[in-house]
């Protein structure tokens, strides 16, 4: 019996601590396990006993690259607890802030982390020698995303200006219009970048995935919408727990999400597949030019989907700024009569609601750069959080990452060690997994017996 083991001591260009073991018998994969050993973060327990008003800022600390996503989902869920409706102006500003985060996160991942895989170079520094103009362009695009987050959030990293009902301070129109020239230049740059990436070689790995994303009646999804799937699911966010289950696997500190026993796929490719017609013309034309309207079954094309979403986010940011009306006041306050008064429990209320019938429950889901981010809060008579549930996109994608590698087994078994390792890493990066969010690096091992 011949055994082959391939291992990667530390897989760079993903976030968090993870190990992957692929066991091969001949050319058949017998098992794939993604073990996330980054320590548990316990944020859900930390929230118990805190005011719902603190949820956006506490949960934002789960992740340094997508704090806005946590703030947006927390706001959506808490506002749902108190049946608080925000104004169109505040909705537009929240979308603008989210555009900033999508741009920052997507561009860093595409060019600095994932593109080196497609061009067979070891890292971003090597890529910079090969394609200096593209790397400089990417840095400039990212800068516009940072600028949006800084203007709306008060600072680039871990913004502090978001509150339940809106913002502590709404920017002046001149604060935003000053960003327009850079955003316009970045949009041109993003289209060129997409053209460059379209020329990459994409491994052939088509599969029929169960895509899940939000869908909004008129807009490409960000802050709100119904949860829909490529198999016809169409539910309100409050029904999430009835349709999606989190299970604990002993090998991983992160929970695995399934949709009625099935493996799901969320993130840019799923959003694009389920919301193609909602893209604005410039992004839709770019996607059509790449054939992404029909050919969205190859997970490696997540790279292109992210590129299309960068075009979308830049275009959307320009549109929002051009139509900006400063909201006054900058937030909608919770009705004081509601903030402490018990209301009827929800039909699908969670554990503490069953014990305390006056518990109120709120649900929120928004589209983080990596996919759906779901929050649910229960608030007791005293107005404090009694139960919290947070499901990040990487939990939802954990199973599909393992299954993709399983499907690639034959290919992996035939390749030399270094190449097998490289393509497995590239396949994992299709999902831009944020391990910190999901528990929350990668030690890759192949064990082969013949």
């Amino acid at each position: 019996m011949k055994t082959r083991t391939i291992s990667v001591g530390y897989m760079a260009r993903v976030e968090g601590e993870t190990a992957l073991t692929v066991k091969l018998k001949g050319d058949e994969v017998t098992s794939v396990s993604l073990s996330i050993f980054e320590p548990p973060r316990l944020f859900e327990s930390m929230l118990v006993g805190r005011s719902p008003a603190e949820a956006p800022d506490i949960t934002a600390r789960i992740c340094g690259i997508c704090p806005v996503a946590y703030q947006m989902s927390a706001c959506a869920a808490v506002e749902n607890v108190f049946r608080l409706a925000i104004s169109n102006e505040i909705r537009a500003l929240r979308r603008l802030l989210y555009c900033g985060e999508w741009i920052e996160s997507h561009v860093l991942h595409m060019v600095m982390l994932h593109a080196p895989d497609f061009l067979n170079v070891p890292d971003a520094a090597a890529l910079s020698k090969l394609h200096p103009e593209r790397v400089k362009g990417a840095l400039k695009i990212k800068k516009t995303g940072n600028a949006l987050v800084a203007k709306l959030g008060g600072r680039e990293i871990h913004p502090i200006n978001v509150k339940i009902g809106g913002f502590y301070r709404a920017p002046l129109p001149s604060d935003l219009t000053s960003l327009l020239p850079d955003l316009q230049a970045a949009l041109g740059e993003a289209l060129e970048m997409l053209g460059w990436m379209a020329g990459f070689h994409y491994p052939d790995a088509k599969n029929h995935y169960l895509y899940v994303a939000l869908r909004h009646p008129t807009d490409y999804p960000m802050n709100e919408g119904r949860i829909v799937s490529s198999e016809g699911l169409d539910i309100d966010v409050s029904e999430y727990d009835r349709h999606f289950t989190e299970t604990h696997e002993t090998r991983s500190h992160a929970l695995h999400t399934t949709h009625q026993g099935k493996t799901m796929f969320c993130g840019p490719l799923a959003r694009l597949a389920l919301n193609f017609e909602k893209l604005p013309p410039i992004a839709r034309d770019a996607a059509l030019g790449l054939g992404l309207d029909k050919d969205h079954h190859n997970p490696f094309k997540s790279l292109l989907a992210r590129g299309v979403e960068v075009v979308f986010a830049l275009d959307e940011a320009i549109r929002i700024i051009e139509n900006y009306k400063r909201p006054s006041p900058s937030f909608i306050a919770i009705d004081p009569a509601l903030s402490n008064a018990p209301t009827r429990p929800e039909a699908s209320a969670g554990p503490s609601a069953e014990k305390h019938p006056s518990t109120r429950v709120g649900y929120g889901a928004t589209e983080a750069p990596r996919g759906i981010l779901y929050h649910r809060y229960e608030v007791g008579d005293d107005g404090l959080i009694t139960n919290a549930k947070i499901v990040p996109p990487t939990s939802q994608n954990q199973r599909v990452i393992e299954e993709d590698l399983f499907r690639m087994g034959k290919l992996l078994s035939t390749l030399p060690k270094a190449e097998a390792r490289a393509i497995a890493e590239q396949a994992i990066r299709n999902y831009d997994p944020c391990i910190s969010c999901a528990t929350h690096f990668l030690d890759l091992r192949f064990e082969q017996t013949e």
């Binding site: 001591g9 690259i65 971003a124 090597a126 800068k143």
Partner: protein
């Protein structure tokens, strides 16, 4: 001689903010500085200049917080060259680009030939949780404050950077 960018680098809270804090103090003395909180922004800035001095918080084993170090351009280049380990210790990740990777990428782009670093030691972030050192309260600032020993080293860091700048322009 070409002007040189003086960059304060770090996060706006806690001891990691010391680079930003020193840059602010230097501006008050009329030295032009910029403050950067994101690795990609640092990379872009370095890719557009040939010479830079970066002020940042550093963690060095067995060094107490508040010690000021200066690495000249040749030393920075030597660190980068010896840094096979750099790629693993400070990878480019979704959470950003480290200072060494920022210099590497900017050099690959044909810039950042001369980069010096002034580092101020801080305690490793985890040990801050169990540190008994009392933080300095800064007036007119909503920031989480610098710890006492790091705050005390700001003056020395300002003196070191001012001297380096004087020699550079002399």
């Amino acid at each position: 001689m070409k002007p040189r960018l003086v960059i304060g680098f770090g996060q706006p809270e806690g001891d990691d903010a010391v680079g930003l804090f020193v840059a602010e103090e230097l501006s008050k003395l009329g030295i032009e500085t910029c403050s950067v909180t994101d690795g990609a922004a640092l990379t872009l800035l370095l890719s557009e200049t040939d010479a830079a001095l970066i002020i940042d918080a550093v963690v060095i084993n067995n060094k107490t917080p508040g010690v000021v170090f200066h690495w000249g351009s040749d030393e920075v280049t030597a660190i980068l060259a010896s840094e096979h380990a750099a790629a693993s210790r400070w990878p480019v990740s979704s959470h950003g680009i480290s200072i060494f990777n920022a210099i590497k990428i900017a050099r690959a782009l044909g810039s950042a030939t001369f980069v010096e670093i002034v580092g101020i030691t801080i305690a490793p972030p985890l040990s801050l949780l169990c540190s008994s050192a009392s933080p300095i309260q800064q007036k007119d600032s909503g920031r989480q404050p610098l710890s006492e020993p790091v705050f005390q080293s700001v003056k020395e860091a300002v003196r070191v950077v001012s001297n380096i700048q004087r020699q550079y322009h002399a």
